[in-house]
């Protein structure tokens, strides 16, 4: 692999700095300033950051050249803000790096972020903590930009923790509500479990690689000989699995996915920005960023693929029975993130990042659409009390439909392309677990998920927008389309969700249509190409690719059709099925009792540990032995020594003489 040229580019710092400045400005002055100014500053900072991002990405694009292997390379833009700290041979620079991968991310973050800021102006109308909301939102964007721009893993980790904090603050934004406040805590604590694993992975990297800069790590990984890789096998696997545990926390995968559905307690724009489009995809980004490391550990890769596939499927089954519009979307997000991990797990980092991008578009769209519905229905979230909204909210309805089609993988919508890529790579990559080939298993899992996804999304669509309105009279008379500030982002995102997939036309289709390029893959090749080259894919021809695509499309359309049969018109089939399979329905409604399981094991375990520590460490050691023990010892010494001090001056004099005698003896001895 040839060296990637790096160009100095100072503007990079400003992209991240602008949202931070916005957050500081609003955080300090926001409470005293008019609302319009607060939101203009917040959204303006985002807008300018977006423009700067375009400039930066354009600059990157201008620097393209043909690499030795015939692929187009772009190099990277680099800005070292300052040296953070230097300990021994370890040197951590606060360095920012823009390469094709982070370029995709900053465009999503600032672009979708800007739209969501604009949307929030409409959605948060009338909230009394207006300035606090925009402060947090800007701070989140800053942290997220640190995460994707940081070339040093420590800077990345700073962003990684920063988005966790922002997520906590925003989930518990309405902190007067106990349930919402504890949802924020839950998210934070579950995330901390994962973050700890990331920290351990970083320590291991410092020990074995001696650096935390991605550029240097990449060099280190590429110079490892096969013998060294074998020798380091256990360590590399440990590093990758620890990093992946961090990803399961941040990106809501089994076993740490439980926080994301609860995170829906936050305002809907937050769900769209943080818990759908950007933060939760950080895990996928991390793996794609460190793909050169992950490919060295087949065990870790297999684990990632299996966990991703299982998460995708199980979250989808839960999504089928949820009745809260945001909960459906939340489980759908968990499921789609599972898809992305499946993609990176089978070595198709491109498909993972591609799905990350299309998902950012259509899931942000869906969340914002749901927010528009909730806004229009005055904070009603139960889809059983919705219905027939297409007459009241036409823009929301059409854009939501586009989002549903995209996520269901309807042909030519963005989700179709990205999901198809994932399915094909899953099938093509030979994954072995204890000698058993897993690719068919994972492929069927993904196919089933695609079917379920289409089904529950259209269940949601039909129950919300079609049929009779089931809201009560009072609510119904108030239903209204949302203001322009909210519908405009919807339309923009609908366009992106509709057509965004064309940047990643799979080769099988591209060749059939006369050599259309896979723009996205070419763009990302510089970062992920070497990682992908590690994998030998089974199918040289396109036969299986056509089969996979046909199956995916059929399952998507099948899901839509089934949803239409069940919910498109008044029908008692769903109710009857729920009754017949009451046990299954109950398990699904209760989300496989995972929360209860954690409460019974981890929760009670920690409580028990706490109690033991309280009794032994706190009460016995600290209170009894140290605090009261010190006092008692002093009291005892006092009671012994008080005998000496009896008030007889002459006794004191005697002691003085005695003391002098002793000193004299010691001196003259």
């Amino acid at each position: 692999m040839q060296d990637i040229p790096i160009y100095e580019f100072t503007l990079l710092g400003w992209i991240a700095l602008l949202p931070l400045l916005g957050a500081i400005f609003n955080g300090i002055l926001g409470a005293r300033l008019p609302r319009a100014l607060v939101s203009t500053v917040a959204a303006g900072a985002m807008g300018v950051a977006f423009i700067l991002s375009i400039v930066a990405v354009w600059t990157l694009f201008q620097g393209r050249f043909e690499g030795a292997d015939g692929h187009t390379l772009y190099g990277a833009l680099y800005h070292n803000v300052f040296t953070w700290f230097e300990v021994g041979s370890l040197r951590v620079d606060f360095e920012l790096l823009l390469d094709p991968l982070s370029a995709v991310m900053i465009l999503i973050i600032t672009g979708v972020g800007f739209l969501i800021h604009v949307y929030s102006i409409g959605y948060m109308e009338g909230d009394r903590s207006w300035w606090r909301f925009f402060t947090y939102l800007n701070f989140f964007v800053f942290a997220m930009l640190m995460l994707v721009l940081g070339d040093n893993l420590v800077v990345l980790f700073l962003g990684w923790e920063g988005v966790g904090v922002a997520s906590y603050l925003l989930i518990g934004f309405w902190y007067e509500d106990d349930e919402k406040a504890s949802a924020g805590k839950k998210a934070f604590i579950v995330n901390r479990v994962g973050d700890f694993a990331v920290l351990l992975a970083l320590f291991l990297l410092v020990i074995y690689a001696g650096s935390l800069s991605v550029v240097e790590l990449r060099e280190w990984a590429s110079t490892l000989s096969p013998a060294q890789v074998t020798a380091l096998g256990g360590v590399l696997t440990a590093i990758c699995i620890l990093l992946f545990i961090g990803c399961t926390g941040k990106s809501a995968q089994i076993p740490l996915f439980v926080w994301l559905p609860d995170a829906m307690a936050g305002p809907t724009p937050v769900s769209a920005l943080i818990h759908a489009a950007t933060m939760v995809t950080a895990g996928v980004y991390l793996i794609a960023r460190l793909n050169f490391l992950f490919v060295l550990s087949p065990t870790a890769m297999t684990l990632i693929a299996v966990i991703g596939g299982l998460t995708a499927f199980f979250a989808a089954t839960i999504g089928v029975v949820q009745n809260d519009i945001k909960k459906v979307l939340a489980y759908s997000t968990v499921s789609q993130l599972g898809f992305m991990f499946l993609a990176v797990g089978v070595g198709s980092f491109f498909a993972g990042v591609f799905h990350l991008m299309t998902h950012a578009f259509f899931k942000a769209l869906l969340f914002l659409g749901a927010g528009s519905v909730i806004h229009g229905m005055h904070h009603e979230q139960d889809i059983r009390r919705m219905g027939g909204l297409k007459d009241y909210m036409p823009i929301t309805r059409w854009t939501f439909l586009v989002g549903c089609l995209a996520i269901a993988g309807f042909p030519l919508f963005s989700g179709f392309f990205s999901k198809d890529e994932i399915l094909w790579y899953t099938l093509a990559n030979v994954h072995l677990l204890g000698g058993v080939n897993l690719s068919w298993f994972l492929w069927f899992l993904a196919l089933g998920t695609a079917f379920l996804t289409a089904f529950y999304m259209f269940r949601l669509y039909f129950l919300t927008f079609e049929g009779e309105c089931r809201a009560d009279e009072k609510t119904r008379s108030h239903i209204h389309e949302s203001p322009l500030a909210m519908t405009l982002p919807l339309v923009v995102l609908a366009v992106l969700a509709g057509f965004g997939g064309f940047v990643g036309i799979p080769p099988v289709l591209g060749n059939a249509l006369g050599g259309l390029p896979n723009v996205m893959h070419d763009w990302l090749y510089q970062v992920i190409g070497p990682g992908e080259a590690f994998f030998a894919y089974r199918f040289e021809g396109y036969g299986m690719a056509w089969m996979s695509m046909a199956a995916a499309t059929a399952s998507g359309i099948g899901g839509i059709a089934l949803a239409w049969l069940f919910y498109g018109k008044p029908s008692d089939v769903p109710g009857a099925m729920a009754e017949k399979a009451a046990a299954v329905h109950r398990i699904l409604s209760n989300k496989y009792y995972v929360d209860e399981f954690y409460a019974a094991t981890v929760g009670r375990g920690v409580t028990l540990l706490g109690r033991v520590c309280h009794r032994l460490v706190d009460e016995l050691l600290i209170d009894t032995l140290l605090v009261n023990g010190t006092a008692r010892l002093m009291g005892f010494l006092g009671s012994v020594l008080r005998v000496v001090q009896n008030g007889q001056v002459q006794r004191y004099v005697a002691f003085v003489f005695l003391g002098i005698a002793i000193i004299l003896y010691l001196v003259l001895r």
Partner: protein, 102 residues
Amino acid sequence: MLSLPLSWYLMLSATLFVMGALGLLLRRNAIVAFMCVEVMLNAVNLTFIAFSKYHQDYTGQVFVFMVIAVAAAEAGIGLAMIVNMFRHKHSVQVDEATLLRH
């Protein structure tokens, strides 16, 4: 002028000092104890003088003046304390003044 060896002076001084110290330890009357302190001080003064002469150095005599001045101040305060003690207790026995114990 009759000249005595240094050791005689020192022996006298030591005797005076021990007498004073024993008196301070054993006599209960505050005024007597006080006088004993004076005896001890003057025993020290005698040592100073003796060494001053022996070494032909006046520094020792200067110290004696210092000690006399301090002894005078001490006598002032000490007598005032004894007077106050007598007013409170109608007694100057030091073993009765044990209010500040423990």
